[in-house]
Amino acid sequence: MTLWLMAGLLFTPLAWAVLTLLTDFARGRLVTWGGILVQVLVSLGLWLTVARDGGFYYGLGGWDAPLGIELRVDGLAVTFVLLTAVVASACGWHAGIYIDPDKPWHRYFWPLFWFLWSGLNAVWLGDDLFNLYVGLELISLSAVGLVALGGKASALRASLRYLLAALLGSLAYLLGVALMYGQFGTLSIAGIASWLTEHPVPAGSGLALALMIAGLALKTALFPLHQWLPPAHGIAKSPVSALLSALVVKASFYIAARLWLELGEPLGNLVSAQLVGLLGSAAVVWGSWLACRQLQLKQVVAYSSVAQIGYLFLLFPLTYSVSESVSLQAQQGITLQVISHALAKAAMFLAAGNLILSVGSSRVDALAGVSRFLPFSLFSFGLAGVSLMSLPPSGGFAAKWLLLQASLESGQWWWVLVLLVGGLLSAAYVFRIFRASFLESPESDQFYHPARSLEVIPMILALLALGLGLVSEQVLSVMALPFEVEGSP
């Protein structure tokens, strides 16, 4: 059973990529919707399996680490697999209706979409440093392809910028992998971690971790390495933006977090942990501030991603040399933040796309008066905003609560200020959109209601983000499952 679930997870996206490559857009859409169903079922199946039996290592091709590639199937990984299934299905469903099927180059949307998905699954489950690199590249290149698809010069510039940043990030990561392999002779994260628990830390190994995390931070667009993100996320088609902001940046963060949690205690140091946290805080403030100043709707949302990503990096200081309970709280908080941001941001981008479709302009001030038409998408946008502002009962709030607790308990009260100020700043940019929509202006008569199904999708995502806070205990409990270590090196 597990075999089939793993196969479904890793190979059906690849198979669907090939299938959709051979068809045109309209048929590719049907094929994709079928594939989405399979993926959702498989992801759910694996999640249930892990929720029932606990996590395990899975050696691909019958070869265990360190010789072969091992996958780490634990609660966190399957939670993200499921999250990906939800968000990517929503984006795929939305894209099928949203994207113009008559443009010949749009047929390439589906294969790229499926490659992206397979890369994401590979990253969530990966436990092999080099395999993670290949997975990252799979994600980056398909994401760049999606941004550039059929674009004009500005889209190409954005995608080039994105590509160069992603490549530099990958190289830094790969250099770290090279050093790690040179030092430990294995590529398995679990192998390195277990060796480090029994032996003294060898000299010169901090740089490898630093390089990897720096490269991944660049790919995650941590301030001040964030400049590539807003143009790329802002200019892509809305379903693509949603995928990028919701999932793609999370993939590189996920690897960084995994590395830090497994290797950070022996190889890291306090200064760098605090520094990463500081950069995250700067991202929160600076990203929100710039989001307030953007004139384009999707740029607002894109800069908001920069800010929200900043929170994620508070994981580093909050898990370094603190008590077990604080570390757990911080991990839970960050996990919730990842999930709720993924859901909320996907909802927001999709809703923004619908709004742009409705008013025929991408500017914020073009929204004047649209509130009168009671656009469903505006409502979804607002509900997603509640989560971004981390107001209750959203998942964002639950995340913030846990992070507040972790900061207070570990005595690092300065992060408390960041969390509170960040919430207020995000309220500033979210309500800026609402302010525009509530303005009663005489000329706002033009309004086009997009198809209902386009509007329903962001609403579902937004409601999930909102409701996540109420069930966060249940969601987090899957992560805390015991992990079967047998078979680990």
Binding site: R372, L402, V421, R435, F438, E440, G469, V471
Partner: protein
């Protein structure tokens, strides 16, 4: 789980479901929307009445589950929450009736009533919250759902007021969250409990507790419009009259005041608060706000702004009452939660009627309006007299009880403040009453009204009269069981002898 556990949830859901249904209804579905609105309000009132009876008999209503690791989402009905719940359920019904009339033929009604219902759902949640965490959850939801109501008119002025409102309340919310998170870090998850949790607190956490108390009051004080955090309230007056009525009489300011009551009684406990020495400064602040609001009200020219400053002053009565150590003063403060709600909603309904029917917004235009709209003006007069504290109206009961409580608590200066405040109340309300009845009309509205017809739309006419009658009734019958005063005494009894 039994039905009892679910009653608070149902009470919460009535308005939540109503909100969702209303959002889904088309703008033109006027009848259906009104029916949903009134139906939900009536159902909610019924549920609340059942729970009041149950709480009186000592039934335990409550439901709770772990929401975030370490914290529970808890709904619970105790005597205090029923007081607030009753207030909002009764006044929601009346305000809905009023709003249906007030917004006749205006645009965006679907949006308005949707958020209006959400707002009431939040208020209900605040009333029924079983711990600070849950309280905060609904407290923020209230902020969000009132924003669209404040900016409802969509003018630049309204949007500016909305922004001010948000800046104040969201910042207050952030401070409150900090305080709650800190408190949680110190003591863990604290359910609201009669007598509080900190009576035997270690001396080494006293400083943290005092700091947390200050933060809590600062966070809650924004909504309660305690000086110097009151700035949003007069600006928010651009909202339509039913919103002002609801915001000022029931939802927002009361949520803040109610929160402070909860913190003092059910988190810290009155004795522990007194022991920590935090009550006295709070009492001084409340007293100052009482006087400050009244003084500012004196110089207002717009009727609704005057009422807003009057609210600033009146809400602090509640806080002052809470700070008086001793059962009598406490009852006085608590009962004002209800009394002020009833009186102030009357005044706002009347102000709305003047604006809607005669186009009066400024005080100097009110000359002689009493002849044109006697019913409304009668209601206004009763409300104003109540505010001043004329016996036997509701305001008198409050002030009398507060005064006795102050004496019992050996805080004689409070009497002076009460007297001074009443004089100031009279100083700004009596001239208006005088204008209404004894000046020649100078407005441009038609002088004579046609006989056989109400002075204004029936939907607008009856709610203020009804609340005016209530103002009289709760004053006259204050000593009967289930009167607000008796109920407040029941709460106090449970608090002081847990």
């Amino acid at each position: 789980m039994t039905l009892n556990a679910w009653l608070p949830v149902f009470a919460l859901m009535t308005s939540l479901v109503a909100a969702l249904v209303i959002f889904a209804l088309p703008e033109k579905g006027y009848r259906l929307r009104t029916a949903v609105n009134l139906g939900a309000a009536l159902v909610k009132l019924g549920l609340v009445v059942v729970m009041v009876w149950g709480v009186f008999r000592g039934v335990d209503y409550g439901v709770s589950f772990t929401m975030v690791p370490g914290v529970a989402f808890a709904l619970k009905a105790d005597a205090l929450s029923m007081m607030f719940a009753t207030l909002s359920a009764v006044l929601w019904l009346l305000t809905t009736v009023y709003a249906v009339g007030y917004l006749e033929d205006s645009p965006n009604r679907s949006r308005f009533f949707g958020f209006f219902s959400l707002c009431v759902a939040s208020t209900m949640g605040i009333a029924l919250a079983g711990n600070l965490f849950t309280f905060f959850l609904f407290y923020e939801m209230l902020t969000l759902s009132t924003y669209p109501l404040v900016v409802h008119r969509g003018t630049e002025k309204a949007l500016k007021a909305g922004r001010t409102y948000l800046i104040y309340t969201l910042t207050g919310g952030a401070v409150l969250l900090l305080a709650i998170a800190w408190l949680h870090g110190v003591e863990g998850d604290l359910p609201f409990r009669e007598g509080g949790h900190f009576i035997d607190a270690d001396a080494d956490i006293h400083l943290s507790l005092i700091l947390i108390f200050i933060l809590l009051v600062a966070g809650l004080g924004v909504k309660a419009a305690v000086f110097p955090l009151h700035g949003w309230l007069p600006q928010a007056m651009v909202a339509p009259a039913p919103v002002s009525a609801l915001l000022h009489a029931v939802a927002v300011v009361k949520a803040g005041a109610f929160g402070i009551v909860r913190v003092v009684y059910n988190i810290y406990g009155i004795e522990a608060s007194s022991l920590l020495g935090v009550l006295e400064p709070l009492a001084w602040l409340a007293a100052f706000t009482m006087l400050y609001g009244s003084v500012r009200a004196l110089s207002q020219v717009a009727l609704k702004r005057l009422l807003a400053f009057s609210t600033v002053s009146q809400v602090s009565y509640i806080i002052l009452g809470v700070c008086l150590f001793g059962p009598v003063g406490a009852a006085g403060g608590l009962v004002h939660l209800l009394h002020q709600g009833i009186m102030k909603i009357t005044l706002f309904f009347c102000a709305g009627n003047y604006a809607e029917t005669l186009g009066i917004h400024r005080i100097d235009d009110m000359d002689g309006a009493g002849r044109r709209m006697p019913g409304t003006s009668l209601a206004f007069t009763i409300g104003a007299f109540g505010m001043i504290g004329v016996p036997p109206l509701a305001g008198f009961i409050t002030k009398w009880t507060l005064g006795s409580g102050a004496l019992a608590a050996n805080m004689d200066w409070v009497i002076a403040v009460l007297v001074l405040s009443s004089l100031l109340n009279a100083a700004y309300f009596l001239p208006i009453v005088h204008r209404l009845w004894f000046r020649e009309p100078n407005g441009s509205w038609p002088r004579e009204r046609r006989w056989g017809r109400l002075e204004t739309n029936a939907w607008l006419f009856w709610p203020p009269l009804l609340t005016a009658v209530m103002t009289v009734v709760v004053g006259v019958l204050a000593s009967l069981p289930f009167s607000p005063l008796s109920w407040a005494e029941l709460i106090v009894l449970r608090e002081y002898s847990p």
